[in-house]
């Protein structure tokens, strides 16, 4: 869109605001703009977020990548990669590090499918 500078017309509603009010309005608008993005961030996750969870759980980057890729293949990342690893560990009754490592190396896939009731 090409547009001439119509600042003088557009500013009508704000030109009489005090400097303080102007600042308030600026921040109100900015907060409104980011509201949907922050809501989305709360409701969604991503492969990187899930890998970052696994890193914090003490997996290394190669393991984290492998585990998340498995979860993506199984379409269960919406449950949280950490959740999946812990759940698997509980079901297998092994330490969660071991559970994750096994999952990363392709073991226990069927088990995961069973736990999370994945068909196919």
């Amino acid at each position: 869109m090409q547009r001439e500078d119509d600042f003088k017309i557009r500013r009508k509603n704000i030109k009489d605001l005090s400097d303080e009010k102007l600042k308030e309005r600026f921040w109100d608008l900015a907060n409104k703009v980011v509201e949907p993005m922050i809501e989305m961030a709360k409701e969604y996750t991503s492969p990187s977020i899930e890998r970052s969870v696994l890193l914090r759980m003490s997996f290394n980057s190669l393991q984290a990548k492998a585990i998340v890729n498995k979860c993506l293949e199984l379409d269960i990342l919406g449950k949280g990669a950490g959740h999946i690893v812990l759940r698997l560990a509980k079901e297998e009754n092994i330490p969660y590090k071991e559970a994750g490592e096994k999952l990363a190396s392709g073991e226990l896939i069927e088990k995961v499918k069973r736990i999370f009731k994945i068909k196919a």
Binding site: R3, K32, V33, M37, K65, H83, L86
Partner: protein, 783 residues
Amino acid sequence: MSEIKNVNECRGKMDKNIKKYVLKTNEKIDVLKILNDLDKYKPRRKGWTWRKKLPKGTLVGPFTYNQISENLENSQPLPAAHYFKNIDPQPDCIITSEIASGRFEDDIRRFRMAAYHGADHIMVIRTTGQSHFDGLIEGTPEGVGGVPITRKQVRASRKALDLIENEVGRPINFHSYVSGVAGPEIAVLFNEEGVNGAHQDPQYNILYRGINMFRSYVDAAEAKKIMANAKMLQIDGAHNANATAKEAWKVMPELLVQHSINCAFSIKAGMPQNLIALSTVPPTSAPAPCIKIDLPYAVALRDFFEDFIFRAQMNTRYMESCTREVTVSHTLNALISRLTSAHLQSTITPDEGRNVPWHYNSIHGVNTAKQSLIALDDIKELIEIKDEGILKEKVREIKERAILFLEEILKVGGYFEAVEKGFFVDSGCYPERANDGIIRYKEGGVAAGTIIRRDKDYFAPVCCHFGYNNLSLAQEITGKKIVDKDIEKESEDIEKGKKIKESKNMGEINNKVCDLIDGCTLCVHGKISYIDELDEIDNVNVRLKENKEYRLGRKVKPEVQWAGDGVIVLSMFLPTGERTSHFASLEIARNLGLKETEVIHKQIMHPAEGTYVEVKGVVPFSIDLEEVRMPEIIPNLEPEYVEKIVREKNLKVVAATVGEDEHSVGMREILDIKNKGIEKFGFKCYYLGTSIPIEKVIDAAIEVDAKIILISTIITHGEIHRINMRRLNQLAIEKGIRDKVILIAGGTQIKDKMAKEEGMDTGFGRGTKGIDVASFIIRKITE
């Protein structure tokens, strides 16, 4: 703001980590020692550290300052400092140096040089391409335009900085980038490894890296929360609009908008305001009347964002290849910082405009910032920004335009829709529109379609996780309990969009979550899994072997990017037109034997009269240090011994500044007792003054029976210094006193060899002290 108590505190912590390796100022940093036991390294602290400001009116050398911080223990003062007792006052604000060799082992040498000149924010540029890498990289591969950010490189760099901050005596902040498609992972890595600050701005991902916008925002919230936990300083990316727009001064309203979006989002993601830095650049440069544009913008920004941190970057948009021009611009950028405010003064190498920034130019950049900020110390004590008139009008206008911009974003349906419509980096001054903005689509970009809605039973059993987290389910599965009161409170605060002013308890709050797994890596450092190398060929060990002889051996080669790269620059003026000069200069460089020659700067002095050219080239040989011809250093005599002989022999000196030279400073420093000159050894000195004819010098020596004649001569156009020396010798011979007197010449351009050629007994150049001259005289007298 968080401040480290003192450097000794750092040192105490450090000794546990790095056993006995202390940098000596006369020894090179040893990369192998840094790499040794790296798997066991733990950062001595997390989070950002500010300089310790000194009170107004602090005396340093002969001057008082109002805007300085604690002195360094070891540092390189500005070149002119020797006129002022070598003081090296440090400005109150952090000074940033960007480091971008692409090899971390070369980077760390650069850290050391920058820190030694006063930088305490080391920003390591990340290799191009990594922002599109979906995951972490490991090992020490070489990068393009910067290093790949890996755990090993980050850890080795932070470890090196621990050593360097001990050497200079001030904490140094380490910084890189939490952008790209692996933001949350990199944020975890940085938190774990004690990285102190990072760029994080989803808008940068979207506009300049072409990464999907949903992915960018979803990742950003998680990354920001992790950064906040470590009290890392966040820098936003708004200044890139400035560096990209064709007419950078027109995007000022948009810049306020971009800053506000990242700031508001960061607060909602859990960052305290005092860790959120705006990256801001004076938008213009001369020949624009730039202060008139840059200052109102800077004021408007600081009005709207008064509780945030300001990182003042220097203009890069209008940099050409003339380093002089850039230096002027950057000095004026520092003026804007001083007239408004800056918590961090970033620096850019003056050769950034050539796309070949070299490390010594980084140091020049640091010096320009330090010099300007110190020169402008508390300028606002003397001058003030007018609170009426054109400035105030412009400030108001920028603010209003920014508000109108935000209004239209909401009007078209929100931020994502605005990006799709090309609202950003349009070169019209909003609401003007040039229709040349950067357009990105919701469903497009790198990693499009990769965000995943969290299920109801979603949970993550770790600290600093943002958003929905079914922790009751987590407790159920793990059978462990966490105290979730604080967590709920935190969520509530975010819910309300409430600004969290202080993050003091952030660490403790989050520590509770990882009780589910008996501690996460952010809380228990020992739980981190360290990977050393994955690539057998592309790693630091291979590189260190390749250039070993230049790092450790007797061989030396010039360098600008990597050890032993051999690059030097030739500067020359040719009395020919631009095009002819270009190719003739390359011919000259090739004739001198240089390889890979390239013109890196050209400046027309006059279209017909000539052109100034800078050519880079690679020196095809190395120098064997043991074969470098170096004159022997003769140690000075003991002052007591000198004095004894002087008094025994009642030595007299006739001294004069000869020829047409009105400068007497140098000679007075050699003579005067109060300058530690030779008078203090008991020499009786007859100083005849300046512009003294040689004849008078000889006559005076005869008259007072002086055994020593000192002449000073600095003007050296043509051969006047040689003529003066020759004449002195000749006259002494003619008058029959040559074998009875010691003739000494001094001056900034005088060299011993040259002086001897002209019949002197010796010559002394720049930097000579009284004891040097006295020692020579006594040796000569007693030999």
